[in-house]
Symmetry: C2
Subunit: 214 residues, 2 copies
């Protein structure tokens, strides 16, 4: 197999879009979530994030990276103003609408309408979920950690509520994400579907792993 | 479709492993990378991380979350001591070995040998890559950002070098991760393979997306 490599000097010399596509491929596939927010004037906002990660289950928390200079800015402003936001897993049936949410709409436009998705609200909360999403999570802002090195921000939130199709939830708490047809992202603009290999038993030194069918 | 939901009080009441599996499913699928490190006594260490994310392409940087109380501690100690580490994308051919790297080995054990993978070194660097990995990245530690809310740490590194199969690198810098059979993780112990849907054009308001075959 022929191998191609880039050292740091070669990376710096790359044309900027080429470099962005390459560097965005190096971490592997990305989780894809639509982040739903609302502002003080009741205008809904929707943005696609490929950086949501688990950071703890007790208390239950997730983090995501926001760049101050992108379309995600409306999202960031709304999260700061309202203190709540929603995460909605992107699946095979809505990935094109989700991608469209990355377009630079004006702040006063309802992005749900623009991309063709439906807002849905949980009783007692004004922040919009994506009705079409199968896995929905209500997040409460806990902290915004500045990453000084490149001016990005890590938004940390607590999980206040979540929902999923009953048939995707296994007996032991595992959510079968291929039941929900959750997709992943590649680089900046690639979309991929996912199918099960297996679940593996808790790893211990000098003990053979057991495989379970998924 | 019957829906199951959990509010915060219900989440807190869950048995701790159930809760961990559930909460770990909510962000979607996870990228999977083997992190290779070495200590001052030349003992190699290998750990699987499911939290590597892109945080910028200029300068090229990635971040990952480390818990001080897990097997990743050897990794963290080594990164602090040596200042360099490697990322090696997990693919279909090595996912069982990668999972095995999550076992709690003693510090003086060479985890490459224990799990059955081969260390490989780049000229001028002592930090080990996984020879069997198709996509390899050399990282230089830039900053460790403490996440005070739950005691985790965000390790931020700069990309100093990367390599991939020539046939997986497209003309525009996009790496075709299904060519490299890169896998994703679900919850704590699920492994999934990935296949292409499509690439979508840059999204603009009021303009139809163009699909490209992947």
């Amino acid at each position: 197999m022929k191998i191609k490599s880039f050292d740091r000097a070669q990376i710096e010399e790359l044309e900027s879009r080429y470099r962005a596509r390459l560097i965005n491929s190096l971490s592997g596939y990305k989780s894809l979530n639509l982040v739903g927010t609302v502002d003080g004037e009741n205008i809904n906002n929707l943005a696609i994030f490929s950086s949501v990660i688990h950071i703890g289950s007790n208390p239950p928390m997730q983090a995501m990276i926001s760049r101050p200079d992108t379309v995600a800015r409306h999202t960031l402003d709304n999260i700061k103003e309202i203190g709540y936001y929603t995460l909605n897993q992107v699946h095979e049936g809505i990935y094109e609408e989700a991608h469209q949410a990355s377009a630079k709409y004006d702040r006063n436009e309802d992005e749900f309408k623009k991309v063709g998705l439906t807002p849905w609200k949980l009783e007692g909360h004004n922040v919009p979920f994506v009705r079409e999403a199968h896995i929905k999570t209500l997040m409460k802002l806990k902290e915004i950690v500045p990453i000084n090195i490149n001016g990005t921000l890590m938004i940390i939130g607590e999980i206040m509520w979540c929902s999923m199709p009953e048939k995707a939830l296994m007996e032991d708490g595992y959510i079968h994400l291929s039941e929900t047809k959750t997709v992943v992202g590649g680089s900046l603009d690639g979309y991929y579907k996912v199918s099960p290999l297996s679940r593996l038993s808790y790893a211990k030194p000098n003990e053979k792993l057991k495989k379970t069918k998924l």
